[in-house]
Amino acid sequence: MNFEFLGDNFMSLTVTGLTQGAIYALVALGYTLVYGVLRLINFAHSEVFMIGTFVTTIVWAGLGFGVGASAPGTFGVLGLIALAVVAAGAASGGTALIVERVAYRPLRKRNAPSLIFLISAIGASVALFELVGAITDRQPRGMPSLVQPKVQFTIFGADVTNLQIGIILSALAMLAGLDIFINRTRLGRGVRAVAQNPDVAALMGVNKDRVIMLIFVLGGMMAGAASVLYDVKVGITTYSVGFLIGIKAFTAAVLGGIGNLRGALLGGLLLGVVENYGAGVFGNEWMDVVAFVMLVVVLLFRPTGLLGESLGRARA
């Protein structure tokens, strides 16, 4: 155990953790939206994220920025990232929608018990995972490093890079956008109504199927955006990339209170930070252990997560 290391590098571990946590949070939104409305854990969401990471590399390679290509100027990089966000968002959102149509809707129409949904979810996840595995020959796929981390400023001895700032800020912006959409718009109100009471929502004239499609697309788009941030940060992806990120994001969602959007943000950031502290104290190989121990401890004391409750109920 190395508490001295933690003390000396506290701020820099915090910044690294927040960056990682921002990506967890974006992916966690997909779990939380679907759970909030359908009380269903969409295990295929991890693969929705994975598909985004590949579409990003395909778009970049298609534009002449394959492995080893040198990065264009600042505006070029921003343009490439923006394009990737659109493409990966569309691909991941589309994948999520297909999963809903193929794996869940038919069961919903037959009023299947929730265990059946879970099996269908795992099946959809394995199918996507193996499909991409087969297409890519199970080889990882590289990409150019578009953003060279450059220290922008130092805070309590921790260097903060442009990459970290970019990732955290874009994740926060997307979360804020989604939060406004859910809480302030008519359609968002429809989503909350279905989450709180599907029958009464129908009595208000809300089309439940449309709301369900909407949340799958929204969650998928957020995962797509997260996949671009992940690619920019890590620079390599593979067909199994979704597994660990998916579990971490799901953990983040549960930690913050599954079904609660702001809980996903809190849970994601907290998980990212704490696992980095854990890695600092116990060594990198203990990172995931620390993350899941924290989950268990929090759930022991707060079974509904830190912010608790579901999509509509918790306004704050």
Partner: protein
Amino acid sequence: MLLELDNVTVSYGRIEALHGISLTVGEGEIVALIGANGAGKSTTMRAISGLRPVGQGKIHFDGQDITKMRADLRVIRGVSQSPEGRGIFPGMTVRENLEMGAYTRRVRAEVDEDLQRAFDLFPRLKEREKQAGGTLSGGEQQMLAVGRALMSRPKLLLLDEPSMGLAPMLIQQIFDIIVEINQQGTTVLLVEQNAQQALSRAHRAYVLETGRIVKEGSGNDLLTDPAVKDAYLGVA
């Protein structure tokens, strides 16, 4: 006829809850559906709104067969319901609950007008405008449920047990408002256990027993009917 149920059956699994109900509601009427617990009153309401599938029979609304129509589309056609147990969205404010009632409407100015009307009918809701629906008292929730159901500007307003759990004075008040809403031009079908109030306010009424309609007549006729008196009005 605005609403016409023709021999409608509804089942929960293998158990048939409604064994062929026929009833009509004419434009401008207040029609009451009375009966004991489990007689099928709420099931009838759910079938009319499209929350329960109809087995046999037909439902016509405003000259159109709506038997198989999706629930949300019936709202657009003009059917609105204040459901059993009120169905307030607990995490939404009073105002948001009312706005949910206007979910199918697009013209903002008209919605604002109707919000004002709801607040005029129920001044209490105006005071509680920013409060979460789940924190309201039972009476306030009932007002909110009725006010919300009006926000879609329905042709037909379905009220499931509007007096449930309310103090006697509030019951009077809520029925006064139902009559007022009706006089403003909305047709009302209401389900009630409080037969005394329902029959004295309704133009016509049906008596439901274990999934069958056993009696119908004007509110006043049923009020003085010995069998009805015996079963539903208690000993005076």
